[in-house]
Symmetry: C3
Subunit: 186 residues, 3 copies
């Protein structure tokens, strides 16, 4: 009978931990997209570190924000009652840097119809994220860089036949009045 020595044991446990961490990090991002598109501000709060930073470059969205509270305000305003929105993160390329830090690269597909703005935006982008495992053992997004691959923005001339909208009942209510379209400012 062979007996595994301590080094082997530690090595196996570490490899399992790596696979578990990768799965856990994917789930952080999955929760992010699910909560974003359903305006679930309460649940999405748990995916960010308190000092999270988001940068968005390329196309009509262009901004940087810092801090969980500012991110949550963006989620609330970004998924309001007069729109449909879909963000899907594909192709997760997750690399652990150490036990508590990881990097992730995602291929985003996004589709938005903003009825008040009369603007339809679709395209793809890469997310380059940094994740940290905090003291409670949960992985969270500490930094997220959104970089466009392509984007098409069209004015909505005729209202589509929306047969269901979760956000219509659960999204943030916009104040009355016209809302300007997003435009490139560079």
């Amino acid at each position: 009978m062979e007996v595994s020595d301590g080094n082997d044991w530690q090595a196996l446990a570490k490899r399992i931990q790596r696979l578990e961490d990768i799965e856990a990090i994917k789930r952080v991002k999955y929760k992010y997209f699910r909560c974003f598109d359903t305006a679930n501000v309460a649940e999405i709060a748990d995916v960010f570190t308190e000092d999270v930073v988001l940068t968005v470059v390329g196309g009509v969205y262009k901004f940087e924000l810092s801090g969980r509270d500012n991110y949550l305000a963006m989620v609330r305003d970004g998924a309001h009652a007069e729109m449909v929105t879909q963000h899907n993160g594909h192709h997760p390329e997750i690399d652990l840097e150490d036990d508590r830090t990881a990097r992730g690269l995602w291929y985003l597909s996004d589709y938005v119809q903003e009825f008040r703005r009369k603007q339809h935006i679709m395209g793809s982008a890469f997310y380059r994220d940094t994740y940290v495992k905090e003291r409670d053992g949960k992985w969270r997004i500490q930094r997220s860089e959104f970089e466009r691959v392509w984007e098409i923005s069209e004015t909505i001339v005729e209202m589509p036949n929306v047969t269901f909208s979760y956000l219509a009942t659960h999204g943030h209510r916009l104040p009355p009045g016209d809302v300007a379209q997003f435009k490139r400012d560079d």
Copy 2:
């Protein structure tokens, strides 16, 4: 030389089993979508328990069905020869409840063009599934709840230029005559 004790050993094996189960459950759903969109009734049968229940709420599809045979009939009618259909399940959030039961949450993207019905439906939804590992060691879908996030349904005025359709040769042949559009009835 350190030696791992029995408890540690069992714990490692259990963690590996959990990762394997998660991968196996994802594949059940992948097979489901692949077979649905290609009208592969023979192969899809294996992803359901005999007592499977499906509930669909929100938007133009709205029904509940029970039992594998009824599900298979729905697959056959739902993917017929005069349509193109695409269902992609993203963001799998799989939680094992015990060795033989698991829950899964999926973010669906769906795109359907029904040429006989002259109806184009697209949107997104969540699937909340229950999976069980049956006596043969295979995970199967026991319960599936489909809940709409958004849906747009348009009448097809001009036939698109379909340059390939697998279903045209492999899908169920509709009997002659007009087919009514799906409509919300709530």
Copy 3:
């Protein structure tokens, strides 16, 4: 105290290796799509074996090519500066055949607007791949079979409002002149 015997130990290590291999193979394909859509010929080279074979059947694309150099030429020409392109691989069904060979089945969603050709193509397909782990320990694509599920090809009558295009600055420059649309030749 129980002690795990050598057979158990090997079995656990093998199960971990299988999970790691599956994750590594997924990442090969993720890198493939990311590099294809950004015309990253330098980085994509590493995902192919030198004798890679690609077959494409069904719809307007129809060809077979052999060898990494020919594949790289196709990537360069296939993602040029006057287009937007998006290929997302969903639902990976990866099966290891032995330590160095694996098969993969993917559900592709593709969306292309070719502005010089004035052609908009969208659809879905299956990829059936063979992967081999080469001497440097890296998995690579040795064979890839693309089979259409559905495809719609429309002539672009009015240019969409492209608000960002990574390929416009990073893609291959087409020589001047008209470019013929892709057409089914079967």
